[in-house]
Structures are given as structure tokens and as C-alpha cells.
């Protein structure tokens, strides 16, 4: 179907169904119940799931296939955000040209950086991309925001002001990013019994784009070009000896993943028309690395899982404070309750990064294939002899956590 074999097509269909039904799946608890804090079905978080999903899918095309570990992908995300906001400022609030320019500019930027960085491989490559990203951050944060030439608006972040030209902004269009007049913030709330489900235009725009991006990633993974990228990873020297030049392939992968990052950045600006330099900092690059590895680098579904997992738990863990913990463990005797709360407390709330760091270390140490490999192992444990299609089973099993 559509150039995919059955396995991939099933996986693709599952992803489509899950993304489109996400407002239901992510809201399993009634709004008034105590469990409602575990609901993730509100627009802001759902948008983040799919946008970071796109970012991670793109990163995986580079890291998962070619093995080049880039520590500077956030730079492309930032370029995408800035270019989208500039379109909003100068021309129109319509998101299509903004996203288009974001992808193109991020691609060009990736071509430039990739051309230089890919002259070296291994650690050098990681450090070079890291240096480039930090340089871009410094440029965006201070250099390009001086009074003479203000491209990024520095610390405040680039945003749309009332006196911006917006040449094609029509009188009856919303004063927010929109898709041909349909505001990205438009939200329809459906109440069924005790449940509230939110259907948000911004989310569905991002979701459709993510599905397209995912389809493209499947095709890349299964194409001869994807095969070449795998060859770069598994044995670069042998590939060179067979008379193939690896660098154009790696560069192409780098540019493609840079464009994915730009797409994610453009979408980020589309749902919230603001671009700040902190999006380009290397911690942001580290985050997408974490997502990809945690989900499973080199697998199709892994990055999406990783992005969903990290964003979901970041959100949930940050909400838990000491009183929530006390209410959870209140069934225990007093002394024990305090001890347990004191032990758990450092890992939740503000300590979420600590949990994330530990989890990440554990995954790298014991489970290099990430959640997908974990799922496959669990499947094997239960005696299903279909280990070959583990990725698919994994998706059915844990995407709801997205």
C-alpha cells in the first residue's frame, strides 16, 4: 500500500489512528476525578507531542540511519521558528508560507553546517555540530539583536507587534496564526458525561503534518537511499572501497533531518507566534537526542514514542509536589509516609531532570535499543514468536502513553 509493505502499512495506520484519536486516548480520566491530572489531552501538550515527534523523527533519520550523532539540531529548530515569525511579521499570519520558509531556510542552514561538519566523523562531528549550535545560539541571543540590525530580538524573543507591516493581512482574518482563516487556537470542546475532549485546530494541523513526515520517514527508511545511509553506519570504510562516496549521502541525511527540525520549529511558532534563542541552546539539542535514544534510535516508531514519553512525563512529573505525594502515600503509617515522601520528592516536581538523566543512563547502559527494544524483550518473554515484527507490536502496546 502506497509503496509500503504490509508491516509498515499497519504501523502507519496505527500511528494515523492514534494521532487522530489522541484527544480521546489521552483523556482517559473524568475531568473532576483525582486522576484528571494524568490527562494529557489538552491542546498545548498534544501539540508538543506531535511537534517534538517530528523533530525526533528527523533526528532519527540522521542518527538512527547514519550513526552521526549531532549535538546541534536545535539550531535548525530555532532557524525554523525565527523564519516563521518573520513571515508573520512581514507578510501574513497564514501558516503555510511560514512553515514553507522555515523548512527551506533550515535546510539551507543545515547544508552549510553539514558541509563543514561532515568533513570529520565520530566525536569530531559531534563536537563540531555542538560548536555550531552554540555559535548560532550566541548569534541569536546577542550578536544579531543589536539596534542597528535586529534579526532576533535577543533575550525578549521575536514576536509580532501591532505596528508590523503584515502586508497580506486581511481585515476579517484572525489576529493569530491561521490556516486560511481558521485560527490555530480555535478549539472545540466536546463534553461526554464526565469527560471533556478538546479538538484543537493547531493540534490537527501539526498532527496531519506529522503523519506526512512519518510517511516520508518510512519511505526513506525503506528506500535504496536509506540502505546507503545504513551502509554509512555499519561500515563506512567498506562502502568507500566499493567506490561509493559516503559524504553526499550523509550530507543529504543531515539536510533532510535539518529540514524536519525546521518544520518542527515552524510549527512551534505557528501554534504560538514567538521565537526565542533558548530554543537553540545545546540543552535543547540534547533533549532530542534523549528522545530518540529513549524511544529507540534507528526504529521507525521509536522517536515518536520517546518524544511522547519525555513530554508526557515532563508535564506530569512537574505537577507533582509535596502535598500531592503526601495524599498518595497517606494510607501508610505516619513515619513511613514521611520517609517515602522524602525519598521520592527529589525525583519529582523540579527534580524531573534528575529522573530523566537517570532513566537515560539506564537506557543507554542496559537497553541500547530504547523502549522499542524493551517492548520486544517483553514480547519475547511472553512467548510470542513474532520477534521480527516487534516494532509493530510495540506500537500497539505503548503508544497510548503518548
Amino acid at each position: 500500500m502506497m509503496g509500503m509493505n504490509n508491516k509498515d502499512a499497519t504501523l502507519f495506520l496505527i500511528v494515523i489512528v492514534l494521532t487522530l484519536l489522541a484527544p480521546f486516548i489521552l483523556n482517559p480520566f473524568p475531568t473532576d476525578s483525582a486522576m484528571a491530572q494524568f490527562n494529557a489531552g489538552y491542546p498545548d501538550l498534544m501539540q508538543r507531542f506531535v511537534i517534538f515527534g517530528i523533530f525526533a523523527i528527523g533526528f532519527n533519520i540522521l542518527f538512527g540511519l547514519t550513526g552521526y550523532l549531532s549535538f546541534g539540531h536545535a539550531a535548525f529548530l530555532g532557524v525554523g521558528s525565527y523564519s516563521a515569525v518573520w513571515i508573520f511579521k512581514l507578510f501574513t499570519y497564514n501558516v503555510i508560507p511560514a512553515i514553507g520558509l522555515a523548512v527551506v531556510l533550515a535546510g539551507l542552514f543545515a547544508l552549510l553546517i553539514g558541509y563543514v561538519s561532515l568533513r570529520r566523523s565520530g566525536i569530531y562531528f559531534s563536537i563540531l555540530t555542538l560548536a555550531f549550535a552554540q555559535m548560532s545560539f550566541a548569534l541569536a541571543y546577542s550578536v544579531l539583536s543589536n539596534p542597528k540590525f535586529n534579526l532576533t530580538n535577543g533575550e525578549t524573543g521575536l514576536q509580532v507587534y501591532a505596528d508590523d507591516p503584515q502586508m497580506f493581512h486581511g481585515p476579517n482574518l484572525p489576529d493569530l496564526p491561521h490556516l486560511f482563516g481558521l485560527s490555530m487556537r480555535a478549539n472545540h470542546q466536546m463534553s461526554v458525561g464526565a469527560w471533556d475532549f478538546n479538538f484543537n485546530v493547531g493540534y490537527y494541523v501539526c498532527a496531519v503534518i506529522m503523519i506526512l513526515a512519518f510517511y516520508l520517514a518510512i519511505r526513506i527508511f525503506r528506500s535504496p537511499f536509506g540502505m546507503m545511509l545504513r551502509a554509512v553506519k555499519s561500515n563506512n570504510t567498506r562502502m568507500t572501497y566499493t567506490g561509493l562516496n559516503a559524504r553526499p549521502y550523509a550530507l543529504a541525511a543531515f539536510v533532510i533531518s535539518g529540514m524536519y527540525a525546521g518544520l518542527a520549529g515552524g510549527l512551534m511558532a505557528s501554534v504560538d507566534p514567538l521565537a526565542g534563542a533558548e530554543r537553540m541552546q545545546w540543552t535543547a539539542s540534547g533533549e532530542v537526542v534523549l528522545m530518540t535514544i529513549l524511544g529507540g534510535a534507528g526504529t521507525l516508531i521509536g522517536p515518536i514514542l520517546g518524544a511522547g514519553f519525555i513530554k508526557y512525563f515532563e508535564n506530569i512529573f512537574s505537577k507533582i509536589n509535596e502535598s500531592v505525594l503526601h495524599s498518595w502515600f497517606s494510607f501508610l503509617p505516619d513515619g513511613l509516609e514521611d520517609v517515602i515522601v522524602a525519598m521520592v520528592y527529589p525525583f519529582v516536581g523540579k527534580g524531573w531532570h534528575l529522573t530523566l538523566g537517570m532513566l537515560f543512563m539506564l537506557v543507554v547502559i542496559f537497553l541500547p535499543g530504547g523502549l522499542v527494544e524493551g517492548g520486544q524483550r517483553v514480547m519475547k518473554l511472553f512467548g510470542k514468536k513474532k520477534s521480527g515484527s516487534g516494532a509493530k507490536e510495540k506500537s500497539t502496546q505503548s503508544t497510548p502513553a503518548e
Binding site: 542518527f63 550513526g67 550523532l69 563543514v116 568533513r119 570529520r120 566523523s121 565520530g122 566525536i123 569530531y124 559531534s126 563536537i127 563540531l128 555542538l130 560548536a131 555550531f132 552554540q134 555559535m135 550566541a138 548569534l139 541571543y141 546577542s142 550578536v143 544579531l144 543589536n146 542597528k148 563506512n236 570504510t237 545545546w282 540543552t283 540534547g286 537526542v289 535514544i293 527529589p346 527534580g351 531532570h353 534528575l354 530523566l356 538523566g357 537517570m358 537515560f360 543512563m361 543507554v364 547502559i365 541500547p368
Partner: protein, 343 residues
């Protein structure tokens, strides 16, 4: 002329920190072949050793002085640090004043221990895994260490002053015949530079003139052969890891009076130190030191008003620009050897 000298001097303290961290990174990379993304965290832990020592020394007992009253008329509560009670007020105050130098003694064993535990407990298992995995696991470790420190010490910078004696500045210009006030330089930065030079010299002397250092150098050149000769090279490399950790830690301890430590100072320095290592040439110890000082001085020149008005913000990006130019023209770095990390 005096302005140039002043900028060179200004670059020395940052350059010293870069050089020390880069030296440790290169030591670890040269011996164990591991890229340690947690090295910046070691620098930060060193700085927090100084904070800890300062806090321990200022632990106080609270007494009520009946003869004096505070502004509300209640008896005044006086906090006296324990050390002042034990050693008398003057000696005690001096001890507290000297907490940063005291922290050096305190931090060496701690950093060595952390280094050993890190190598034996974690990094040992990653020799056979791809470089990407090594980067990732040490990156994870760096996050964990940083968050632990943040949990215990909070997110704000903690001022840790140098001893009073060194808090002023010295007029270096007068000593060499310039006008008064032409070259003013804080004492502590001078001390930092001297200290860094001492440590760097010590590490080089250790590697060059001791049997242990000779074996380590042999192991860096050809680990397998040294192992075949019946030498337990792994244990020596573990010790080198500890030494590298201690170097980073000491750099951190001494840096606290220059910049109050906070939990992400390590990451800030790490990125630049990597650039320093790459510019110096991966695996080259003299290269790392040279590049550290060069880039530090370059950064200080780029921070002058003249430079920042010509090209705004040049001081922020100069190091990266130089790194890119060096890598494009001399891919092995300034002093890189052939065959190190070529694939």
C-alpha cells in the same frame, strides 16, 4: 602596548580554566579512548567542594548575648562559628577566610575518589561500545550530577570569596615601568594562573619523569603491547582518570572566587573545553594547554570595546569561529598526531 598586555593578562584566567579542563579531557581521551561529557560536571563538583568547605567552616553555634539588644529590644543572638570557639576568634576567622585554599586539600581526595568510582563503576563497561554510546552515557551522567548539585545547593550562584589578603588588585604596570594604573590586575587571577601553571607542569612532569608516567605514556601509544608485557595497564589508566578528575576539580575550586559557582557552570565550560581540545588536536596534551591559553586570550581581545563596537557580539562567537577555521584548514588541530581518532 599596555592595553595589549592587559588583554593578554585578562585572557589568562579563563585560558587557565580552559587549559586545565581540556588537559583532563585529553588525558582521559588519550588513555582510555573515552570522550567524557561529564568532565564539566567534575569541574562544577570541584567548585562545590569549595562551597561545602566554606559551609562546614562557618557552621555556627547560636548564643544569646544579654548585654546587647537588637533593634526590637530583644537580647541579641550572636552566631559564633565553631572554629572560632575552638581556635580562638582570630585564628578561627583566619581559617574561615582561607576556606578556598583549604578546600584544595579537601577536594583532592574527593575528586580522586569520584574519578575512580566513575571509571570503575560506569565508564569501564563502555570501552567496547561505540563512541556515540560513551558520549551519551557520560552526557546522562552529567545531567544527573548537575541535578543532584542543584537539589542540594539550589539554583543560584553561591559567592565564595578568596582570602581577604588576595581580594585586591595589583598594579603590575608600575613593576615593569608603565604608568601608574595602566595595568591593574586582581591578585586572585594571578594566583589562578600560577596555580594552573603549577598543576599543568606537575602533570607533565609526572608523565615525563616518573616510571608510572612512562608506563602510562607507553600505554597511550600501544595499550595492547604494554598489557602483553604483564603490566596492569587498566589500573594505571584508572588512576589517570582519577588524576584528570582531580585536575578538573582543582580548576573548579580555584575558580570559585572569580565566578560564584552555580550548577550549570560545568556545562558552560564543557562546550568550550571541547572546542579547545579539538583546536589543540585530539589526544595531544601540549596542544590542549596551548589551545586553552590561546583561545582564552583571543576571547579577551574580542571582548575589548574596540572589537565589540566593530563587530557586535564578536566575543561570544570568536572561539567557535576560530575552531571552525582551524578544523577546515588543519583538520587534526594545532598539534594533533596522525592516527588519533581518524575514523
Amino acid at each position: 602596548m599596555d592595553a595589549i598586555i592587559l588583554q593578554i593578562l585578562n585572557g589568562l584566567d579563563k585560558g587557565s580554566a580552559y587549559a586545565l579542563i581540556a588537559l583532563g579531557l585529553t588525558l582521559i581521551f588519550g588513555t582510555l579512548g573515552v570522550v567524557n561529557f561529564a568532565h564539566g560536571a567534575l569541574f562544577m563538583i570541584g567548585a562545590f567542594c569549595a562551597v561545602t568547605v566554606q559551609r562546614i567552616l562557618t557552621l555556627s553555634v547560636e548564643t544569646i548575648d544579654e548585654t546587647r539588644t537588637d533593634f526590637l529590644g530583644n537580647p541579641l543572638k550572636v552566631k559564633t562559628p565553631y572554629v572560632e570557639n575552638w581556635f580562638g576568634p582570630e585564628v578561627g576567622a583566619a581559617i574561615i577566610d582561607w576556606s578556598v585554599p583549604i578546600a584544595i586539600l579537601f577536594s583532592i581526595p574527593i575528586m580522586l575518589l569520584i574519578g575512580f568510582v566513575m571509571e570503575r563503576g560506569l565508564i569501564k563497561h563502555f570501552y567496547k561500545r561505540p563512541h556515540a554510546d560513551q558520549i551519551l552515557v557520560t552526557f546522562g551522567l552529567a545531567i544527573v550530577l548537575q541535578e543532584v548539585i542543584k537539589y542540594f545547593y539550589g539554583a543560584n550562584p553561591i559567592p565564595t570569596p578568596a582570602p581577604d589578603m588576595f581580594s585586591g588588585s595589583i598594579d603590575l604596570g608600575v613593576l615593569v615601568g608603565f604608568d601608574v594604573n595602566a595595568i591593574i590586575y586582581p591578585y586572585w587571577r594571578l594566583i589562578y594562573f600560577a596555580f594552573a601553571a603549577l598543576i599543568i607542569g606537575g602533570v607533565f612532569a609526572f608523565l615525563q619523569f616518573t616510571t608510572f608516567g612512562m608506563v602510562v605514556r607507553a600505554g597511550m601509544a600501544d595499550r595492547e603491547t604494554v598489557g602483553l608485557l604483564g603490566i596492569n595497564i587498566d589500573r594505571r589508566f584508572t588512576i589517570m582518570f582519577g588524576i584528570a578528575a582531580a585536575v578538573a576539580g582543582l580548576a573548579g575550586v580555584m575558580y570559585t572566587p572569580i565566578n560564584p559557582p552555580n550548577y550549570h557552570m560545568g556545562m558552560d565550560f564543557l562546550v568550550l573545553s571541547f572546542v579547545v581540545v579539538v583546536v589543540g588536536g585530539m589526544g595531544s596534551l601540549p596542544g590542549a594547554v596551548l589551545a586553552g591559553f590561546l583561545l582564552g586570550i583571543l576571547e579577551s581581545f574580542a571582548s575589548t570595546t574596540w572589537a565589540t563596537t566593530t563587530i557586535p557580539g564578536i566575543n561570544q562567537i570568536i572561539i567557535y569561529l576560530v575552531a571552525i577555521i582551524v578544523l577546515l584548514t588543519r583538520p587534526r588541530g594545532l598539534m594533533g598526531r596522525k592516527g588519533v581518532m581518524e575514523d
